[in-house]
Symmetry: C2
Subunit: 200 residues, 2 copies
């Protein structure tokens, strides 16, 4: 077990890392209560991670240890191996975007997981037409049996993490979510950083 | 009130219709227990309907009368105006696809909402990189409070329908879902047709 790469995603930004088949990917909420969107593409850019097909692969809205993550065309990408958090994660929310912040009344340009994804993905040659549906690590937006979604603050404590096993060679984009509007405190009182480690 | 267009979508197929701003779009389950996937794009092809942003616009997994349907970039497309069904519809399921049927063990080529979407959308010049996330009318796949998804047969009776108000000029693709595998009876015992009317 050796760390191949260890990076810190600064608040309200995103990074791309290369993850070889068989490696572990660990995503850490360094300061607590911080959501992190994850996107992934096969290294030949042929197909990418999809929350909608991953939900259909597990028949679950919220991922648990043992669940697979698959691509748009159902090709295996990751296995969810370890969860050192209170367990709230999300496969439903769209990535936040400049258009969403504008609609929510934010003045001027607002950073977003969509724009941070675009920049990081572009750096490895990945330029999809539409920002893919992400896995929202640490996001605490439960639903009730009637399908009503609640927007709550992440439950994670400083240092909480998830670990995935890579089932193929991939590029992975990880963001530290940019949401800081006072009535949508999914990230608590302020946006903080996210740690990313690739371990083989 | 005059019907501009009235078409029948044959079993396991799809059609594209033009829907002008202000018109009503009625989708009818002609024989009962038949799911219908709906996709829509602005007539200038600039942006298209998204289930993920529509869920975030209503904070609901399952659409109800009064809910909006919006595009990837949150532009208003439809208002859900009338529901003449028992009320089960879905904003979660991916469109069925050839890859999904292959994975489920179906022998040889199987028709799918994805391929039927591609063909119908192509006929109006719409060729998105990835098949968009659809609104699954009449689909009965409820979730529980723990986020577990159940796969059940549609509750619709012959002639049940939904009516939407178009908030822009659009092309709309409607499919009659192709799922006929014996352990996934979302469409009951056989795949049947769907009615589509545009009324202004």
């Amino acid at each position: 077990m050796a760390t191949i790469e260890s990076v810190v995603v600064p608040p309200q930004s995103g990074v791309a890392v290369r993850v070889p088949e068989g490696a572990a990917l660990r995503i850490t909420d360094r300061e607590g209560q911080q959501v992190s969107d994850m996107f992934a593409v096969f290294s030949d850019l042929s197909d990418f991670l999809s929350a909608r097909t991953s939900r259909a692969a597990s028949w679950r809205l919220f991922p648990k240890v043992g669940d697979p993550f698959v691509s748009v065309n159902y090709r295996p990408m990751f296995l969810f191996e370890e969860d050192n958090t209170p367990g709230a994660h999300d496969l439903l929310a769209p990535p936040c975007s400049a258009e969403m912040y504008e609609l929510l009344g934010s003045a001027g340009y607002h950073p977003s997981c969509s724009d941070n994804f675009r920049a990081a993905a572009h750096s490895v040659g990945w330029n999809p037409e539409v920002v893919p549906d992400p896995v929202d690590w640490f996001q605490n937006t439960p639903v009730d049996g009637a399908g009503q979604i609640s927007v709550r603050t992440a439950l994670t404590r400083p240092g909480d993490s998830v670990t995935l096993r890579a089932l193929a060679d991939m590029f992975v984009v990880v963001t530290a979510c940019s949401m800081d509007l006072p009535d949508k405190k999914i990230n608590g009182d302020s946006c903080t950083s996210i740690g990313v480690e690739v371990i083989a």
